[in-house]
């Protein structure tokens, strides 16, 4: 019989397959941001639409801006560049050959020569071939030339983090590798409103920026996004929930996990948590975190990336130095394990709300 009929009859509709991909529960619930009425007209947008909107604004306002990478011409594998080639032309939105080191190097050169270069790396997992160009070249361009050359108008975007089934090479969160590289900026949005403003800030920032977009949020994160042009400040952490007992720090998708942890802590332990979205990994807003920890005395950092030398390590080291006498308990980190990102075992790998909740209990009962 035809293949399609075979699949329909035997695998999908009979519900014998225990875990249909589409049935797996998400480990978080997205909580949308809202904006005040003074921000003007808004439009319902998901994350990829907000990013698309931000790119459109950048190209409309800056005639030197160009977008390039693998498959961006038809709209991109995550639809972030849909419609942009039609609107702005083939010389401004174009495919490159399949080569991340080439994409990054090309972007650096275009930026050096005066263009606003917006590069897309198809998955953050594949940014590593570009590591030499990003860290040895882009990050050091201004410094090593005594300031006479720079590639500040370079922005590199890449989808990152867990998506439910991405496994080893479609789930990585590589922010820690780049946090170790002075000269770069590294930014991770938690939703569409932040993404639109942060991306525009990165594009306009006079330093090479990496913008990691949590891919699971592309469709599931929907907000009423202001249609006007706006930017959001880099290196400024957001206090999303105020609290007195514990400081929770995360970024990207993890912010939404931590929101639920706040609620669980409140409901089950009567513990008031202060939730902070770090937003920018490098340079990071140490002051906001330190101020919060001086108030609460307890810190939980959570991220999907592995534990050892994850960015939580930097936050923990800095905060224990800044706030040593204020700490009531050792700093907790709830993270991915020190393993590559597994496929079938994702529900066990993720720093889910139960592992975070357990860490909250440890902090409170220390």
């Amino acid at each position: 019989m035809a293949l399609r009929t075979f699949i329909k009859r035997n695998l999908i509709l009979n519900n014998k397959c225990p875990l249909r991909i589409s049935q797996r529960l998400s480990h978080f619930t997205f909580v949308p941001d809202t904006v005040s009425a003074s921000e003007g007209e808004t439009q319902r947008m998901n994350l990829f639409q907000a990013i698309n909107n931000s790119l459109d604004i950048a190209l409309t306002q800056d005639p030197t801006a160009v977008i390039f990478g693998e498959d961006v011409a038809f709209g991109g594998v995550f639809r972030c560049t849909v419609g942009l080639q039609e609107k702005h032309g083939k010389s401004r939105v174009f495919n490159t050959p399949l080569c991340e080191q080439g994409i990054a190097g090309f972007g650096i050169g275009a930026a050096t020569a005066g263009a606003t270069a917006i590069a897309e790396i198809q998955f953050a997992d594949y940014i590593l071939p570009a590591f030499d160009q990003i860290c040895n070249e882009a990050a050091k361009y201004r410094y090593r030339s005594g300031g006479i050359y720079d590639c500040g108008s370079l922005t590199i975007r890449a989808p990152c983090s867990a998506v439910g089934h991405g496994a080893v090479y479609h789930s990585q969160s590589p922010e820690a590798f780049f946090a170790h590289c002075p000269g770069l900026k590294v930014v991770v949005p938690r939703g569409p409103i932040k993404a639109k403003g942060l991306l525009l800030s990165c594009i306009r920032d006079k330093n090479p920026c990496l913008f990691f977009e949590p891919k699971i949020l592309y469709r599931s994160a929907v907000e009423q996004v202001p249609v006007k042009e706006y930017t959001m400040p880099l290196s400024k952490a957001d206090i999303l929930v105020e609290g007195d007992d514990i400081t929770l720090v995360g970024w990207g998708t993890q912010v939404h996990v931590l929101r639920e942890v706040c609620q669980l802590a409140k409901d089950q332990l009567n513990v008031s948590c202060e939730l902070i979205d770090l937003v920018t990994i490098l340079p990071w807003d140490k002051e906001t975190i330190a101020q919060s920890v001086k108030k609460t005395g307890r810190l939980l950092i959570a991220h999907e990336a592995p534990l050892t030398s994850g960015f939580g390590a930097e936050i923990a080291a800095s905060i224990q130095h800044e706030c040593f006498l204020n700490l009531e308990a050792p700093i907790e980190r709830v993270t991915g394990f020190d393993t590559p990102f597994p496929h079938m075992f994702e529900p066990f790998y993720m720093p889910d709300k139960w592992r975070c909740f357990e860490a909250v209990k440890k902090l409170v009962n220390y």
């Binding site: 050959p97 080439g102 190097g105 090309f106 040895n136 090593r144 030339s145 005594g146 050359y149 340079p283």
Partner: protein, 433 residues
């Protein structure tokens, strides 16, 4: 063939799944496909063959080496003589010899512990001056590290070279990098960086930006035959061709990558052999023949800009000097081999012979220029040596466009430390606040 396959799946089901094709046009396509003349694969542009035959890589002799002069500096085909003016040719000669003199002095200064490191350009002066002279001074140059002559041609002064090598307070690079990592915004020469080949895809991106800005310029990218093995080289050549970028790739094939001879670097027809494979206009030239280099670069530039496409030039030459002051090449090659190139096929002597044959140069001028040149180099050298280094707080500048608070904090901590432990830091060599 194809019509039969369509029938098996059922034309209707295929068409139903192809939203853009209707049944009428599908049978028309089937008729065209069945004509069978050429392969129809989207990635193919060639013919069929029924012969099982592998292409031998040594099938042909290799791309020939273009030259204007013989090894003695005599023009072979007069139509290829670029007929440059006496003034221009004399400038070329003086630039090459001044470069050579500066190299000798600075190499020696490293040996004496005055500067930390140096790389000479012996034997490759022709590749620098011949190509730089054919460019527009506003064409952006991305170099590797052995192209100082291109900067010298454009007007980088002896003082500027030496300030960078000494890393003193007048170094444009603010003492951040090792010697020979020159850069100049005014002279459109992007600051050198040590990682090899990274400049190549950057040159392509810059050329693309130039194309979009319609500024009528091109980008020049120098690299060695060793560097052409790097992944970035492949990336650059491929991107430049697919994205139609006005960039000239100039490979200095000098026979060695430190100790690795070219026969251990590649097995094919050098770097030029790769150009056509990338879809690129390609030429191989005698790098020790200043006029050949000039002619090829001039033509390459015209093509790159008028046709918006990349051009590959492989300039064959020989690295007469050691790789750097950290290298002693007698460990891997014979003194006789080096002597051959120095005495029998040197860009400077070939050009001098040309000038002599034109009556533009003589022994008296040679003597006078040699002394003048040496004096200029020595006085610049003395000036550079005397200067202080930049203020040590330059460590913290230019990491970002603006100094972020965490770097400012580190600078402050170090300021306090240096105040407390001042006698343990070489402060007297550095400019004060």
């Amino acid at each position: 063939m194809l019509p039969i396959r369509l029938a098996r799946f059922g034309i209707r089901s295929v068409a139903a799944n192809c939203k853009r094709i209707n049944i009428g046009s599908l049978s028309q396509v089937a008729r065209e496909f069945s004509s069978d003349e050429r392969p129809q694969f989207p990635g193919s542009r060639s013919q069929w063959t029924e012969k099982l035959e592998f292409i031998r890589p040594d099938l042909y002799d290799g791309i020939p080496v273009y030259r204007v002069m013989d090894r003695k500096g005599k023009v072979i085909d007069p139509s290829q003589d670029p007929q440059l003016s006496q003034e221009m040719v004399t400038k070329m000669y003086k630039c090459m010899t001044q470069l050579n003199t500066m190299d000798r002095i600075l190499y020696e200064s490293q040996r004496q512990g005055r500067i930390s490191f140096y790389m000479t350009n012996y034997g490759e002066e022709g590749t620098h001056i011949g190509s730089a002279a054919a460019l527009d001074p506003k064409d952006l140059i991305f170099g590797q590290y052995r192209e100082a002559g291109t900067l010298m041609w454009r007007g980088f002064t002896l003082d500027q070279f030496m300030n960078q090598c000494y890393g003193n307070v007048d170094d444009g690079g603010k003492g951040k990098q090792m010697p020979v990592h020159y850069g100049s915004k005014e002279l459109n020469f992007v600051t050198i960086s040590s990682p090899l080949g990274t400049q190549m895809p950057q040159a392509v991106g810059a050329a693309y930006a130039y194309k979009r800005s319609q500024n009528g310029l091109c980008v020049m990218c120098y690299f060695g035959e060793g560097t052409s093995s790097e992944g970035d080289a492949h990336a650059a050549l491929n991107f430049s061709a697919t994205l139609d970028c006005p960039v000239i790739f100039f490979c200095r094939n000098n026979g060695y990558a430190i100790s690795t001879p070219s026969k251990e670097q590649y097995r094919g027809d050098g770097i030029a052999g790769r150009g056509p494979a990338y879809g690129m206009l390609t030429i191989r030239v005698d790098g020790n023949d200043v006029f050949a280099v000039y002619n090829a670069t001039l033509k390459a530039r015209q093509v790159a800009i008028s046709e918006m496409r990349p051009v590959l030039i492989e300039a064959m030459t020989y690295r007469i000097g050691h790789h750097s002051t950290s290298d002693d090449s007698t460990a891997y090659r014979s003194v006789d081999e080096v002597r051959y190139w120095d005495e029998r096929d040197h860009p400077i002597s070939r050009l001098r012979n040309y000038m002599l044959s034109k009556g533009w140069w003589g022994d008296a001028q040679e003597k006078e220029w040699k002394e003048d040149c040496k004096r200029q180099v020595m006085t610049a050298f003395a000036r550079a040596e005397k200067k202080l280094k930049p203020n040590w707080k330059e460590i913290f500048t230019d990491v970002y466009h603006e100094m972020p608070s965490h770097i400012r904090e580190q600078m402050k901590q170090m300021e306090e430390h240096v105040q407390k432990y001042a006698e343990h830091y070489p402060l007297k060599n550095f400019t004060k606040d």
